[in-house]
């Protein structure tokens, strides 16, 4: 049993661990990009400009309606094709570019995370007490200062539980990239299963690892929430 997970030639320990590293890298790389998308989409949906508003809402509706795996395929195949077409257009003799599955994974997951987090952020901005912003305007703060010093710290508090949920979802969605040949935890597990014919053992270990990553996230999130809620009376 333990030999199966040893490191080196005979065991799958190092492969699985590499997979964990890829999964973690993918999730961590996706988070800032996805959150950035989320803010952009939320701002678009909240803007007074009608076309911009339609784009914001339209994007969310579209992304929510698509299975993540389809988004991933579209990005991986479609964007790769698009890039190569553009390159060919510039330079006919150029070698076709290999679109990195990691990058495709980050973009696809971030697009999904962006759509869902936009809704969370929009809700958080709506929950913001207008008096808090007015107090900032009344002392002469610029819109920029109001955003960074008042709005952001306050919406953070409202958005954190929802964003935490999305983060854990996304952490697990990274397993989808195994399909486009990225050697994440899921794919390494499948390879090990195919090789050893011991599906139960390896899938159980993968479950345990995903669950531990979620658990770790939850612990960190709880700390962050505690921190964000300082000064707020709990009722």
């Amino acid at each position: 049993m333990f030999e199966l997970f040893s490191f080196g030639e005979n065991g799958w320990g190092d492969e699985i661990l590499d997979g964990v590293a890829i999964t973690a890298q993918l999730a961590i790389a996706t988070l800032p990009v996805g959150l950035f998308f989320g803010f952009i989409v939320a701002f678009a949906a909240m803007s007074n400009n009608k076309p911009l508003k339609a784009i914001g809402y339209g994007y969310t509706t579209l992304m929510r309606g698509l299975p993540e795996i389809l988004t991933l395929f579209v990005v991986y195949n479609g964007v790769g094709l698009l890039l190569n077409t553009i390159i060919k257009w510039w330079n006919v003799d150029a070698q076709p570019l290999d679109f990195s599955p990691f990058l495709a994974g980050v973009i696809a997951l971030a697009m999904v995370f962006g759509a869902f987090s936009a809704e969370v952020l929009r809700g958080a901005f709506n929950a913001l007490d207008e008096g808090q912003v007015e107090a900032g305007r009344a002392v002469g703060m610029s819109p920029n200062v109001i955003f960074w010093r008042i709005k952001l710290p306050q919406i953070w508090r409202f958005a954190l539980p929802g964003l935490g949920n999305l983060w854990i979802n996304m952490l697990k969605d990274t397993s989808l990239v195994s399909i486009i040949a990225l050697n994440d935890l899921m794919r390494m597990t499948k390879v090990a299963v195919a090789f050893t014919k011991q599906p139960f053992t390896f899938y159980l270990v993968a479950c345990l690892i995903y669950w531990l990553m979620s658990l770790l996230s939850e612990i960190i999130l709880a700390k962050m929430e505690h921190n964000a809620n300082r000064g707020i009376r709990r009722v």
């Binding site: 007490d129 008096g131 107090a135 009344a138 002392v139 002469g140 010093r149 710290p153």
Partner: protein, 251 residues
């Protein structure tokens, strides 16, 4: 009274929300060291007028000048938002609901404006905030969050926050209306001390005693217009209009 003493000048201010006309041609001047109490029934437009003075509401028509310099408004938008920010930084405002920033402690609330608007050094802003909180009697509570303070204490922090900007005048929007009756006194006492040191104040209030004893001028709003104005003595001893007579007899 020289021109230099004039801080705020509102001229023929109209304000509508949709089809409802709330202000119907209000003109008012605030000179240095004046304490102006604005009285009126709810819905008379007095809070809206106050909020026009620092452009939290943009008047539908009419002009507001700060130190003799009018603010240009075109199509309901200020031509130069920086001008408005500069005016606001020199006009303190105290809100009915205090509006302290809930995610910052009392002292951080007071330091915020000086640091992020006036670009004051942090340690200077802290010293200043400490002395202002001491002045409003809250030095021992300066590291508490607003949620840990009573309404009266929150409002005193809000006054310290306004003072920290060293304003030329302070606008008070019903500063004691949201307070439990037993907490009103501590806030009025602070406001009275500000008046005594010659601060220019414009106060929308329901506190008749404050209007009568502390202010230098009383303005009575009725249905979006100034129905009557004068010194507290004239106003309370010889109310001229029927609406004001009725208003003070109902209190």
């Amino acid at each position: 009274m020289s021109k230099a003493d004039l801080i705020l000048e509102a001229n023929d201010i109209y304000k509508s929300f949709g089809t409802v006309e709330v202000l119907k041609g209000i003109s008012l001047e605030a000179k240095n060291h004046e304490v102006i109490s604005i009285l009126g029934a709810s819905g008379s437009g007095k809070s809206t007028f106050l909020r026009c003075l620092n452009f939290l509401e943009i008047p539908t028509s009419g002009t507001i000048a700060f130190h003799g310099e009018p603010v240009n408004i075109v199509n309901g938008k200020p031509v130069n938002p920086k001008h408005i920010e500069a005016i606001r930084s020199r006009l303190g405002m105290v809100f009915q609901q205090f509006n302290l920033w809930t995610h910052r402690t009392a002292i951080e609330n007071v330091m915020e404006g000086p640091i992020y608007v006036k670009k004051m050094a942090k340690n200077l802003a802290r010293e200043k905030a400490e002395s202002l909180l001491e002045r409003v009697g809250l030095k021992d509570r300066m590291h508490m969050y607003p949620s840990q303070l009573s309404g009266g204490q929150q409002q005193r922090v809000a006054i310290a926050r306004a003072l920290a900007m060293e304003p030329d005048a302070i606008l008070f929007d019903e500063p004691t209306s949201a307070l439990d009756p037993e907490l009103v006194g501590e806030v009025l006492k602070v406001m009275q001390s500000l008046a005594a040191e010659g601060r220019t104040m414009i106060v929308v209030t329901h506190e008749m005693a404050f209007a009568r004893d502390v202010s230098s001028k009383v303005v009575f709003f009725h249905a979006g217009k100034i129905a009557e104005q004068g010194t507290p003595d004239e106003m309370f001893k010889n109310p001229k209009t029927e609406v004001f007579q009725k208003f003070i007899s109902n209190i």
